[in-house]
């Protein structure tokens, strides 16, 4: 391993600009002559819009234009789309209600977009918004799943009179029923996967621009996938054809899924730029982010596990109701379906699985992918079930898991996925060792001496990453392919630019991708630059989410590098007057086998461009190659996290005393960055388990719409983490990478809840396990003890 190659903990090249305040985020970008947009949002969860009177507001200082849904419709701008078609059990398509970027006649959640006010300054736009007179006829709201499914519930979209988006299922019902019929023991659980707000620290922002001379639109935006944004804005929404629309996602301050989607505000800014003849800028404030960024999770689940007399899992039956909010966001339909149910087998041999999912409209913000997207929900179901099953049988939860682990690969689960490789026991062993599980009893006694309760919880998670083989996702309803592209441009002096369709918003691609290039081409890291986030520079790409940029994005780069080396050999053969078959490439030099004749990579690059030595015809000048890489399978990162908590029964405060994570990510490019991803994921998972919860009251008002009300994990809520790794290289891509971005967020919630319930001695606690809830649960434990 070289100091900068694959496996080296290289310090990040992008950091210099961030630590000196020189990052360029969307809100840092200003265009000459720009105007500012402010969105007037619905204060009601559900209402008909009777009239919008803008006359007074239009006359106010600085106001340039006030635009509504009628203006969008007049310009034939289409609605926002959901790009994944799910079919009902009966084969009929899901019921997708219209999703105009600015409301047309009706608002469906608090924060829904009613009008945009464009003014010289942001303050003027905001002031004018208060003078827009909207007459609403309020309607009853259905702010949660139960109210939306009640008989006589208010109808949110006419296409779905029962507020049901789809009734979907996966697996073999008959085989699962048969498994339960012969079960010796059935474990049952009711689970709530709490609703979360993603909260990347950089709020969304957009600057739309239109060049009347060329007819080209430019949108600067906080996007994880600028090409997908351009595709949707062009092909579906109809802003402009793709060659007339440039989307730039500069430095982006975190995404966690919430910046995948194509939202109303960005759409309106780019459209309005032409309409008002000025660049139009919008930056979300945090309250708007809470109201209108797509939320995550929000499942209600009943799950059952069938066991034989030896404690082997025979079957799994899961019924989930998923809240998708008031409109279908870009990929929302895939989250509680194909990103969820196929992971319900966990790390276990389960012969039969049947899962039913009802997706529901409610008068709340749209719900879509948030770090892990479906996989944390699945992991919560299976890891809570195995833990409780072990406890009910009086078995050690680690042994129970080990007994049921998949040990033979490849392994076909009953729910689509074919696990290619893994070694689940290795991660469990290592985690138990690092967590010093064998002395847990001593620590528990010690806590008891201090009047505290101590518990230990496992989570043996698996996820499907490296998203995704295009044909596979196409057959499941995806409207796009999920390959990735790369272009490797070698300059005449031998420096390299890599243009990638992946997008870095914290992942450190500028470093890790350069490490791959440095490793393969034998050139120093500082001779490589990574270009991303601009549709005018990078031809196409699917962006970054689903832990795909290593497994898919870097595989594309690796393939393009292979082509560069192959062409370099041809050039070197001419330059060294040898036959191509005799040229070797190693450590940055092309050499003629068995001789001391060689040329450095940079020298061959120069030869490629000056082209003096070619005989013409056969070889084109230049050194630049592209590749589109489509993976052959998902990847299956897996691991074991162990959480140990101490609870103060008097206050209900849960303190995480130690956290151990052992993950198998296959080949790791930069362990420092990978560990950082694990830390961040765990923090978000702990946030879900202990602190975070988006709450709408029954009128559909979001009562957790600021950092005063929505508890973000802070430094003193978390411990330091012990992170270890095992490795079974992934056979499904040329680099052996599995992906690491979501693991922590997937693994953590059940580890925390399993630890808390272990301490409590009963299973009756839901997320977030706030001090109040834990205190109440402690009272229940004490009553239970007293009764025994």
């Amino acid at each position: 391993m070289s100091a900068t190659g694959i496996g080296a903990p290289v310090r990040r090249t992008e950091d210099f600009r961030f630590i000196t305040g020189k990052g360029q985020y969307t809100d840092d970008i200003n265009r000459a002559g720009q105007a500012h947009a402010y969105f007037l949002r619905s204060p009601h969860a559900h209402a008909d819009i009777v009239k919008i009177d803008t006359s007074k507001a239009k006359a106010m200082d600085g106001v340039i234009a006030i635009l509504t849904g009628d203006d969008l419709a007049a310009d034939k701008i289409g609605g926002l789309i959901c790009g994944w078609m799910i079919h009902n059990k009966d084969g009929s398509p899901m019921r997708a209600g219209g999703h105009p970027a600015l409301a047309q006649g009706k608002v469906r959640y608090v924060g829904d977009h009613v009008a945009v006010i464009i003014a010289e300054t942001y303050q003027q736009a905001k002031d004018a918004a208060e003078a827009v007179d909207v007459t609403y006829k309020t309607l009853p709201a259905a702010a949660d799943i139960d109210s939306a499914l009640k008989k006589g519930a208010p109808v949110i979209h006419d296409v779905a009179p029962d507020n049901t988006v789809f009734n979907w299922h996966l697996g073999d019902k008959a085989a699962t029923d048969a498994a339960f019929a012969k079960a010796k023991h059935v474990t049952k659980l009711d689970l709530i996967n709490n609703r979360l707000v993603p909260n990347p620290m950089e709020p969304r922002a957009a600057v739309g621009d239109f060049d009347a001379g060329t007819g080209v639109f430019t949108l600067y935006t906080t996007s994880q996938n600028p090409h997908v944004a351009r595709l949707v804005l062009s092909a579906f929404i109809g802003i402009a054809p793709e060659h007339k629309l440039r989307v730039i996602a500069p430095d982006v301050g975190g995404g966690f899924g919430s910046k995948i989607f194509i939202y109303a505000e960005e759409t309106v800014c780019v459209w309005a730029a032409k309409k008002v003849g000025r660049p139009v800028k919008w930056t979300s404030d945090r309250t708007e982010a809470f109201l209108s960024d797509a939320h995550g999770r929000d499942h209600v689940t009943h799950a059952e596990m069938a066991l034989d007399d030896k404690g082997r899992i025979l079957g799994l039956r899961v019924n989930t109701k998923a809240n998708l909010g008031a409109y279908l966001s870009t990929f929302s339909s895939s989250v509680p379906t194909y990103l969820y149910a196929p992971l319900l087998s966990g790390q276990y041999n389960i012969p039969a699985i049947y899962c039913e999912v009802d997706a529901v409209y409610t008068n709340t913000a749209p719900v879509d992918a948030y770090r892990g997207a479906g996989r944390p929900e699945a992991t919560f179901v299976i890891e809570r079930l195995v833990e409780v099953a072990a406890r009910e049988r009086g078995e050690d939860p680690a042994l129970f898991r080990r007994k049921n682990f998949v040990t033979q690969f490849p392994h076909q689960t009953p729910v689509i996925m074919a696990y290619d490789v893994g070694n689940y026991s290795a991660s469990l062993d290592k985690a138990m060792d690092m967590a010093d599980v064998k002395n847990f009893g001593k620590r528990k006694k010690e806590s008891e001496r201090h009047g505290k309760l101590r518990g230990l919880g496992y989570s043996a998670y698996i996820e499907a990453c490296g998203i995704a083989p295009s044909q596979a996702v196409g057959s499941l309803g995806a409207g796009v392919g999920l390959w990735e592209s790369a272009e490797v441009r070698v300059n005449p002096v031998g420096t390299v630019e890599v243009l990638t369709g992946s997008h870095s918003h914290g992942q450190g691609h500028e470093t890790t991708f350069a490490q791959l290039v440095s490793d393969r081409l034998g050139i120093p890291l500082d001779q490589v630059s990574i270009v991303h986030g601009d549709t005018d520079k990078v031809q196409f790409g699917m962006g970054t989410y689903g832990s795909r940029s290593g497994a898919v994005g870097m595989s594309a780069i690796a393939q393009a590098i292979d082509k560069v080396i192959a062409k370099g050999k041809k050039v070197a053969a001419y330059a060294l007057e040898a036959s191509e078959g005799d040229i070797d490439f190693k450590d940055g030099r092309f050499s003629v086998k068995g001789t001391d004749k060689s040329l450095a990579f940079g020298e061959v690059a120069l030869q490629a461009y000056i082209a003096h030595k070619f005989s013409g015809q056969q070889l084109e000048p230049g050194l630049k190659e592209t590749a589109f890489y489509d993976p052959t399978n998902f990847t299956f990162p897996a691991g074991v996290h162990i959480c140990e908590v101490e609870i103060d029964p008097d206050t209900g405060v849960t303190r995480i005393d130690r956290w151990t994570a052992v993950d198998d990510f296959g080949v790791v490019i930069n362990p420092m960055i990978v560990e950082g991803q694990v830390h961040g994921g765990i923090a978000q998972g702990v946030g879900q388990a202990l602190l975070e919860g988006a709450h709408y009251n029954k009128d559909g008002q979001l009562v957790t719409a600021s950092y005063m009300d929505y508890t973000m994990p802070r430094a003193d809520d978390l411990p330091s983490f012990a992170v270890g790794m095992t490795s079974t290289p992934c056979p499904s891509n040329p680099l052996g990478i599995k992906g690491c971005g979501e693991a922590g967020a997937i693994a953590a919630p059940p580890a925390v809840i399993n630890a808390i319930t272990d301490a409590l001695g009963h299973e009756n606690i839901s997320m977030p396990a706030t001090p109040q809830r834990v205190w109440q649960a402690v009272q229940q434990s004490q009553r239970k003890l007293a009764a025994e």
Partner: protein
Amino acid sequence: MASVTMTVNGKTVTATIDPRTLLSSFLREHLRLTGTHVGCDTSQCGACVVHVDGRAIKSCTALAVSLDGAHVTTIEGLASDGHLHPMQEAFREHHGLQCGFCTPGMIMSAVDIVNRKGAMLDEHTIREELEGNICRCTGYHNIVKAVAAGAQAMAATKVAAE
């Protein structure tokens, strides 16, 4: 409109501004010092922390006009003579940042913690002192390491300078 004069990163600036302009907007929009970030509207996240007269404040919570005559240091002014501040170095060395959005505020807060509490900071103190700065990316693990190391490096540079 009101006139305000202050020293920002060693340069005197005078401007006529809307009296409701926050220091964060003044820095970002009038002076184009966009390293100071705005991550919330309730004074909770700390992305906007700068130093005013040597002490950390949340610039989203101060009116620029109230700081007439003040000395303000932003993240752009922390490095001197082309040398990174030891705390900046520590964040890079210990991977204390991912997306970088919270980073300017984190670093400015971290320097302030050392100024107030000295160089020997234990993990508990660092975590408590970082209460006012939210990071969504790192889980704080490496930020805590960076602050501890940066504190020691600050002390060492001071000793070296004396």
